[in-house]
Each structure stands twice: as structure tokens, then as C-alpha cells.
Amino acid sequence: MAAIAGLVGLAGLVAIWAAGCGGAEADERPQLVVAAAASLREPLTECANRYQAAEVRLGFASTGEHAARIRQGAPPDVLAGADARTPEALEAEGLLTGTSVFATNELVLAVPRHSGIRSFEDLGGSQARLVVGSPSSPIGGYTEELLARLPAEERSAILARVRSREPDAKGMIGKLLRGAADAAFAYRTDVAAAGPSLRALDLPDRLLPSIAYAAGIATASEHPDEAAGFVEDVRSGRCASALREAGFGEPGP
């Protein structure tokens, strides 16, 4: 009995493994490892599957986490970050090259669709459990920029509502969707990707931080030309279209 169960389990594992390998024929294309910010998950996954010039392997995490790995000597070929500051810092350290902005995004206050919070002004006086990005992540940095532009009283009222500082943008959305949090400062694109259960409340223009997503090629990359090609696609090719469709803004002049 136990032996049969064990064999079934083993057969299941083998089937999963075979399904993984069986599909791809011998892939002669170069392999590109792309480290991307968590908020880029949906558009990049789509377009990377259809990317012709190379086999793209995407890894999603907080931009800061990717940067730490690059600094520890384990670089990908391309870094696509949720800010410009991190790629530019890495370029100054000689770890990245060709850094350029490829998209913009907007900070919003994300709430569940039926939330009692109808506007940003409602937040400070509410009992809402607020989640924000951890200070070491771009989303956390943008939130701090926003809060710094508020008068001290309003800022304290909002900070008093914070209940968790999440390492990346997607964790906050997950908590909102499960009712584990009542509000989050998130990217407009993440709220859109989460579907009808969430609503994005606009933030006052004068408070909005300017959000620029920048990408760079690792100096240690073994496929710098293919990497540059992918970055160009993300700036102005198929991947760029996927980004626009997901709600990311144009990189600007």
C-alpha cells in the first residue's frame, strides 16, 4: 500500500519534470538572465515568452534584492529596476552599463473596491491598516518621498496607520486582496493587474513622486549585445507595447 503510494508520487514527479523538458527542442539561442522588479511581472512575462532573439529567463524580486546580488558578484545579464537611482548607483560602481529609463509609473492609494476610504484625504483619520513598501525597496522610497511632502501632522497621522513594510510591491497587493490590509501605497499598474477587487485612488498631483523605471546591462554579462537588444525591446519594441498596455507610461524624451 505504502509502496504503491510512493510509486504514484514518484511517477507524478517524473511527469512534471518530463513536461518541463519535453516541450523545448534543443534551444540554440543565447540565454539571457533578466532581473526585473516585482511590478513588471505581468507585462514582461508575456513578452519574454515571445522574444525571438534570445531565450529570456526572468527573475522577479524587489529591485534592492537584485542589486544586492549584483554587488555580491552574482549578476544577471540585464537589470530592469523600479527606479533609476539603483541602476545609476550600480553604474557608478562599474557593475552596470548603458543605463536608461524605459518606463514610468504612478503611485496610488490602493483600497478594496468596497472600502469606506473614498479618497486620499480619508486615510489619516481612519482606522485603516495600511501597508507600505519597506524603505529599501523603490516603492517604499517613493512612498517616503510622497509622505515627506506632507505637513508634519498629516504625515504622522498616516504613518500611525502603517502595519507592515513589505519587501516588494506584490506582497502588498496580496494582503489587500485577502482582506489582511485595508489600504496600501502601490503602483497604479499593480492595482490594475489585480482586477476588479481593488480600486486605485488618485493622489494629489503636488505630492506625486516622479517614478522612472531604468534598465542596465551587467558589465560582467557574457551576452552584452543580446542584452542590449532586449533592453531596446523593452524601451521601444514588443515588450514596450506590453508595458503600455499594462499601464506603464512612456519613458519620455
Binding site: P135, S137, S164, R165, E166, P167, G171, R178, A180
Partner: protein, 266 residues
């Protein structure tokens, strides 16, 4: 295989295991200077994280031992229909990836979860609160203790248990005064495993309870937070966690007696 060759294989295997397991731990201490490590610990967030880890892990372990010991005794001494299924259910968290554990806890105890309404009506808040951390740690670590305790109780000499009952002791007294002390090395080993597991838990805590200094940011979460921007800080916190874990492990094993320190029986 000749005797000498087999001996060499044994020694080689152990040497390889020790080297592989010890090097990353040693690297935590070697990769940065002691001064830098100690300075990083002056950070109040680091202190908060360590205190929270110690606090939540201790509470979890207490719950696990209090509830798990009688449960393991029942599993060890009774046969009943569906026992195999019950045992499998109890052991299931062992093979769940921590992130899955976090999702599962949200699905069960989160505000939108199966028991969410009942919990809120009772006025209990778990998500984004310290109590949620304890729930997460207990969930992932309990199977380690229960399984080990069940095995230890099952190994007890039935004659000793029978003698105790024959002499008039109730089953409760037998459990408390005979079974637990005799099975102590095994119970201590199970507690050590559970403790280690709870101390290091990350994914379930992050997803179910969140990460906030002083409330839910345990040491592993604080280490992760520092990894991106302050590697020395991450190393320092890791070093302290290693020492804390080693100390607690040793304490539990001393309670368990010479057997659980690794010496052979007899």
C-alpha cells in the same frame, strides 16, 4: 569493499558533510570584522527583531509542547480508524513550502478566510499582529515535535507503563511521571527541531503576519530587509541568530540528558 576503503568512505562522507554545513555558518562571522558586526547591532530595529524572535518562538514552543505532548501520547498508545490519515494530516506542514503555509493560514484564519468571520467576532486579531506570528510559527514547527514525541513514546517499554498502571497510577499520572521523564531525550530532540524551525521561519510569517518593527518583524524578516541595503547589518543579525540558535539548541539538549547530546546508548 575492503575494510580500510569503507572506513575511508565513512570519514570522507562525514568530513564533506561537516565542511559543507559549517562553512556558510563560519562565513557569517568571517565575512566582516567583529567591530562592524557589533556596531550594526546597536540598531534598535535589530534589537527589536531579536527580542520579537525570542518572544514568539518561546510562546510557540510552549504551545507546541503543551498541546503536542498529549496528542503524541494518544497517537502512540491508541489505535483507531483513520489513524494513518490523522498522522498524515498532522505531518503535512512538514512538507509544505513556507510560502504555501502562509497562503494556507491566510485562507483559513485571514479576514476573508474560512474561519475569518468567527475569529473577528471573537475580537481576535491575527493578521498584521504578533499573535499572527505565533500562529505561523506554531503551524510550521508543531509537526516536528509531535512526530518525534510520538516516536519516542512508542519506543517506551510497555512493561514499565503497565507496571505503573497496575500500581494504581492514573493514565495522566503515568504520562506525567513515567512516560515523559523516560522519553525526555526524544522529546528534547523534537523540541530542538521545532525550535530551530520556528526561529528560522520567514515565508509564512511574512505572508500571514506581515513585517513591522517590534510587532511582526522577526529576525529572519529583519535580515531580509537588510540584505538589499545593508549587508553588514544582515551579517550581524545573522551572527547573533546563529549564536542564539546554538545556545537554545544546547540548552534543550542538556535538558534531554547525555543521550540527546549525540552519545550512543549504553
Amino acid at each position: 569493499m575492503s575494510r580500510a576503503a569503507f572506513g575511508a568512505l565513512l570519514v570522507g562522507s562525514l568530513a564533506l558533510s561537516v565542511a559543507f554545513l559549517a562553512l556558510p555558518v563560519a562565513a557569517i562571522f568571517l565575512d566582516s570584522s567583529p567591530g562592524a558586526l557589533i556596531a550594526s547591532l546597536g540598531d534598535p530595529a535589530a534589537v527589536d527583531a531579536l527580542m520579537l524572535s525570542a518572544q514568539t518562538t518561546s510562546i510557540s514552543l510552549a504551545i507546541i509542547v503543551a498541546v503536542g505532548t498529549p496528542a503524541a501520547w494518544l497517537l502512540a498508545t491508541r489505535e483507531f480508524r483513520g489513524k494513518a490519515a490523522v498522522v498524515t494530516l498532522v505531518e503535512l506542514p512538514l512538507v509544505l513550502p513556507p510560502a504555501v503555509a502562509g497562503i494556507a493560514l491566510l485562507a483559513a484564519f485571514g479576514p476573508a478566510g474560512v474561519l475569518g468571520g468567527a475569529i473577528e467576532d471573537a475580537g481576535i486579531r491575527l493578521v498584521l499582529e504578533t499573535a499572527g506570528v505565533v500562529v505561523a510559527l506554531t503551524f510550521v514547527a508543531a509537526p516536528f515535535y509531535i512526530r518525534q514525541a510520538q516516536a519516542s513514546f512508542a519506543l517506551l517499554d510497555p512493561a514499565v507503563i503497565d507496571a505503573s498502571r497496575t500500581l494504581g497510577a492514573s493514565e495522566a499520572r503515568t504520562l506525567a511521571r513515567i512516560a515523559v521523564p523516560t522519553a525526555l531525550p526524544g522529546l528534547a530532540a523534537g523540541a530542538a527541531l521545532a525550535l530551530g524551525r520556528a526561529l528560522g521561519e520567514f515565508g509564512a510569517t511574512l505572508i500571514f503576519a506581515g513585517s513591522f518593527q517590534g510587532i511582526t518583524q522577526t529576525a529572519p524578516l529583519a535580515i531580509y530587509d537588510r540584505f538589499a541595503t545593508d549587508f553588514d547589518g544582515a551579517l550581524a543579525l545573522s551572527a547573533v541568530l546563529v549564536c542564539l540558535s546554538a545556545g537554545l539548541l544546547l540548552a534543550v539538549k542538556v535538558v534531554g540528558g547525555p543521550e540527546s547530546l549525540g552519545h550512543a546508548r549504553g
